[in-house]
């Protein structure tokens, strides 16, 4: 059946429909919304997409997204250069930065080892991490493995742990346990088990 839309409109709906989480209905709704907005707004949106594509790249040190050769964290002289926090994606850097607790550097792997999807070591920035640790000046004292607490994240963390074992570096992993504001009785066994394993002395 021929499309009920004119070719430019159909092209817009098709392009929007390729975005993650946007189905055909949502694509249609957004397309109609864009037709209604003033031309200036549409131009600004198109320009910001082009700008982001042209200017945003990966930091040459840590593979976080950045508009400079080095991201704001790597180029900040006040950061502790002896610590590297390894995360899966740039959005994890944002989440950790929001806590305001961590003052070291990051390394973004751009994914996690996912055996079931066939994503292995070579598709990630693991070799770059090892080179960075080898060449670091001052020497790295601690690597914090901050992959997601799911199977893929655990596989990645265990693999890195094995790679880092020969180095004289403290390797730590983010604590895993109960979410703030949650009820103990609703916690699943795996989380609660890890919370017990990772318990710590209070008042010390």
């Amino acid at each position: 059946m021929a499309s009920p839309y004119s070719p430019p409109m159909q092209a817009l709906i098709d392009e929007l429909g390729r975005m993650p989480g946007i189905g055909p209905k949502s694509a249609q709704r957004i397309a109609f919304h864009l037709l209604k907005v003033p031309e200036e707004d549409a131009r600004r949106l198109a320009q910001s997409i082009l700008n982001a594509k042209a200017k945003v790249r990966f930091c040459e040190m840590c593979f976080n997204i950045s508009d400079e050769p080095q991201c704001s964290v790597c180029s900040d002289e006040r950061r502790d250069r002896t610590m590297i926090c390894v995360v899966e994606e740039s959005r994890d850097v944002v989440a950790l930065e929001k806590t305001g607790v961590y003052k070291g550097l990051y390394h973004v792997l751009l994914g996690a080892i996912n055996p079931l999807e066939g994503i292995g070591v070579d598709q990630l920035k693991i070799r770059e991490l090892m080179m960075r640790i080898n060449d670091a000046e001052p020497a790295i004292q601690e690597v914090i493995l901050s992959t997601n607490p799911n199977t893929e994240g655990d596989v990645t963390a265990m693999y890195l742990q094995r790679l880092l074992a020969p180095f004289e570096i403290k390797v730590t992993k983010l604590a895993s346990g109960l979410p703030v504001g949650g009820d103990l009785e609703y916690a699943d066994e795996l989380t609660l088990g890890r919370a017990i394993e990772g318990r710590r002395e209070v008042g010390a």
């Binding site: 080892i113 079931l116 066939g118 292995g120 199977t151 596989v155 979410p179 699943d188 066994e189 795996l190």
Partner: protein, 242 residues
């Protein structure tokens, strides 16, 4: 909304929307079931942690229009040891991948479920490469593709007692070949001995005999036979994390 309850093993998960997942289960009575688990990627999720691949669970499903919905999940057994060890975890991933390939949606295959549960329990208690190879060989047998280990698949002559030398395994013909017909991949007598023990129901004997090199050989060969049988590559066996 009608509901049903079943025991299952989580085979894999896919991300869906902001915080949901599609979870693929191998159930005891309903075959392979794909269901939506809502909100499980949020850190406060009540049962997200129970829906990781390899988890053995008791699930309450609500029948949906296209996909069913996961309403409640309880863990049946723990696979902590298998989860905290990279080698065992990657073997477990291969087990769930192959069951995902062999299982049919909504087609009852209790033997696949039972074999997977048994293999995951063995994985939790035993650290040997042989656990994975043995699982593949037993699955192949249940699929009617048991490798022939006693007679040459070319000339039908009995192979007889195995010695320390090497033999040949022909993937196309699904079995071992004698030294005169020597066609196929080389396989050691030790590896064949282990395979005979596994398929002869002497798994404990095989595990005790386990020599490391022969076990790896068995698992490599069993992987090739399985890939030949399903005509698909086992992705988990090629990710290079060992």
């Amino acid at each position: 909304m009608p509901q049903y309850r079943d025991n299952a093993v989580v085979l894999r998960t896919y991300k869906l929307k902001e915080s949901d997942r599609i979870v693929v289960f191998m159930t005891e009575h309903h075959g392979k079931v794909r269901a939506v688990a809502k909100g499980v990627r949020k850190s406060g999720s009540r049962f997200g942690g129970r829906l990781e691949p390899m988890s053995h669970v008791d699930v309450l499903f609500a029948t949906g229009r296209e996909l069913d919905i996961v309403s409640q999940v309880e863990l049946i057994g723990t696979t902590n040891k298998a989860r905290n060890d990279l080698d065992r975890l990657s073997r477990g991933m291969s087990m769930v991948e192959v069951v995902d390939q062999l299982g049919m949606e909504r087609e009852e295959t209790p033997h696949l479920y039972k074999m997977l549960v048994g293999a995951l329990e063995t994985l939790n208690s035993t650290d040997s490469d042989l656990v994975l190879g043995a699982f593949f060989l037993k699955l192949l047998t249940s699929e009617g593709a048991r490798p022939e280990l006693d007679f040459c698949v070319a000339c039908r002559e009995a192979i007889g007692e195995l010695d320390g030398g090497s033999y040949y395994f022909n993937l196309e013909n699904g079995g071992v070949q004698c030294r005169r017909c020597s066609l196929g991949r080389r396989v050691s007598g030790d590896a064949l001995l282990l395979m005979r023990a596994i398929l002869g129901g002497r798994m404990i004997e095989a595990l005790n005999y386990d020599s490391g090199a022969a076990s790896r050989e068995v698992t490599e060969l069993a992987t090739l036979v399985m890939e030949h049988h399903t005509e698909r590559r086992l992705k988990t066996m090629h990710t290079n994390i060992h």
